[in-house]
């Protein structure tokens, strides 16, 4: 009986697939047609905060057809691969090492499957919502759904020397990692099906609009002049604040504050952290959307801030608790990477030392404070990404300098206090939008399908209860 049902299911799926295969032929044909002609953007290339020209580059001459530069494209593709590696294996292992053994696979799965879900969502509608032709300064239109019109010619707005699809796939990796960061807040207790729905809704209704506001041509925060080189607001504040909403709505894990919830595999966590550091060079230096001076500058400050933050966190801990820890150093590094992200294309190496040190101080303090407040942000997504991202976005308003990036702006310390105010607005808006939006999505899911696994499932662990697998089998 049971077996027959299975065979039937299998045959049905096979059949359905074949029909689908045939059916989409038309659609594919249609799409290819739009892919072929150069998607030459009507607007002339404009210096933009996110893709500023390298200092010293000749001023852009309007009109002539855009040419793909092999070096820029090589760097952008490399960067895209690096950012993919941040989510899986990077973040997947970073988080999985910190949970208990019984949740190792469930935690890995969350990052891994987000990579799959958002890769498809982005191609189908996410990119269009975020970067498609502007509507009311709030959202991209649906013109680029299914990548219609997103071809292999450069797009003047988003990278005049690289194929438009290269920019698209680079951004896809950002859209992937952002919801994955949130999973740290609800680790070890969320239902897999609900988690999938949450991810899809959050990406569509929180990430895509926010990305449009800050990075999309016409987006209102971009028009305001907010600086966010590689995602302080869009990626880290949005995920960190949403993580707070998750921790509050889902509540604490069973046994929190009583059971031993020590990380089950810290070498795995350090491996993940190191891969995040490695991949983050693509994240930040790749955000120059070109290979040259600006990418180099972003690369250098990324490394410097990260190192400074790791040392600062370690020293703080040493003074405060008596021992320097490995998890602390790794956490500090991530905090530094987070904080330098929005600033990475606008500040110099000495400034980056301070941005990094600040990340170490503030994020460590946040983590200590959390354990007093009593909400269960299991893997400190709030403390690291929310606080680190906020500090980084504000620090950009302090340390940005046109000497580093002529397409940017000066910060307070370089004579322009107004920039800090703009940054503060962008930070505030992101906080409110992400928190309220996430709260609503979570409540909707809670009322309909429920957010948490049952008590017994939680005790058993996600690996067996959600996936019927164990991380470490014994022969």
């Amino acid at each position: 009986m049971y077996c027959k049902r299975r065979v039937r299911v299998l045959s049905l799926v096979l059949l359905a697939f074949l029909i689908a295969c045939w059916g989409v032929e038309g659609m594919v044909l249609a799409q290819q047609a739009t892919e072929a002609p150069p998607a030459a953007g009507g607007a002339p290339p404009a210096g933009s905060p996110t893709t500023p020209a390298a200092p010293g580059a000749p001023p852009a001459v309007p009109a002539p057809p855009l040419k793909i530069d092999t070096g820029d494209t090589a760097w952008l593709l490399t960067s895209s691969a690096l950012v993919l590696a941040m989510t899986a294996p990077g973040l997947a292992l970073f988080y999985a090492g910190m949970v208990r053994e019984k949740n190792a696979l469930g935690t890995i799965m969350q990052s891994f499957i987000i990579l799959c879900v958002i890769s498809v969502q982005w191609v189908l509608w996410g990119y269009s919502l975020a970067f498609g032709p502007d509507k009311w300064h709030l959202i991209g239109s649906l013109d680029w759904v299914g990548l219609a019109g997103v071809g292999l010619e450069p797009n003047a707005d988003y990278g005049a020397t690289v194929p438009h699809q290269a920019f698209m796939i680079f951004q896809a990796m950002f859209a992937v990692i952002t919801p994955a960061l949130i999973t740290g807040a609800f680790a070890e207790r969320m239902k897999f099906s609900s988690f999938l729905v949450f991810t899809l809704l959050w990406a569509t209704f929180i990430y895509d609009p926010l990305a449009h506001w800050v990075w999309g041509v016409g987006g209102w925060l971009r028009n305001l002049g907010a600086l966010d080189f590689a995602g302080g607001t869009v990626v880290h504040i949005s995920s960190g604040v949403s993580a707070l909403a998750c921790a509050l709505v889902l509540g604490r894990r069973i046994g929190y504050g009583k059971d031993n919830m020590a990380p089950h595999n810290l070498p795995m966590t350090v491996l993940g952290a190191s891969l995040l550091w490695f991949g983050w060079f693509g994240f930040n230096a790749g955000s120059a959307v070109a290979s040259g001076a600006l990418a180099t500058s972003a690369f250098v400050v990324t490394n410097t801030a990260t190192a400074a933050a790791a040392l600062t966190w370690m020293v703080m801990e040493w003074m405060y608790r008596g021992k320097p820890t490995v998890l602390g150093a790794a956490s500090g590094a991530i905090a530094g990477l987070v904080a330098i992200t929005p600033a990475s294309g606008f500040v110099g190496p000495m400034s980056s030392l301070i941005v990094g040190a600040g990340a170490g101080v503030f994020c460590y303090a946040a983590v200590i404070v959390k354990s007093k407040l009593g909400y269960d942000d299991s893997l400190d997504a709030v403390g690291v990404h929310g606080i680190g991202g906020t500090w980084g976005a504000l620090a950009t308003g302090l340390f940005a300098s046109k000497a580093i990036n002529a397409g940017g702006a000066d910060g307070w310390f370089f004579g322009n206090p107004a920039q800090l105010k703009i940054q503060a607005i962008a930070v505030g808006v992101s906080w409110v939008f992400a928190f309220v939006g996430t709260f609503i999505i979570l409540k909707l899911i809670d009322l309909t399908m429920g957010l948490r696994v049952s008590e017994e499932e939680e005790r058993t662990g996600l690996d067996l209860s959600q996936h019927e697998e164990r991380a470490y089998g014994k022969a």
Partner: protein
């Protein structure tokens, strides 16, 4: 002296340990075991292959006590390790001939 071996559910270890400590027991030895009994195991699947795992993770606690307190200890364990569901475990009681404390060479009740 009696040796009391209790097989319990893993997540009950902390409760049992605390209760025993409160009851004045100062030493015990704990190990991880796999139990087979009335409690059912679980299923696992890897690609095309399914396994039924019949062994369930359990904790075994060994406590050696003077004859007089053995009953108290057993009762304390029962009280704290019980959930009322199948698989709560068993307690085995054996008679012990002697105990020695390695550090001092003391034997018998004084070694506990």
């Amino acid at each position: 002296m009696k040796k009391i071996e209790a097989i319990i559910k893993p997540h009950k270890l902390d409760d049992v340990k605390e209760a025993l400590t409160e009851a004045g027991i100062v030493g015990m030895t704990v190990l991880e075991v796999r139990g087979f009994g009335r409690q059912k195991g679980h299923k696992e699947a890897y690609r095309g292959t399914e396994y039924t795992i019949e062994f369930v993770p359990k904790i075994k606690i060994d406590v050696v006590v003077q004859d007089g307190v053995a009953n108290d200890v057993v009762n304390t364990i029962i009280r704290t390790a019980k959930t009322g569901e199948v698989g709560d475990g068993k307690i085995f009681i054996t008679n012990l001939e002697n105990v020695v404390r390695i550090r001092t060479g003391e034997t018998g009740d004084r070694a506990l």
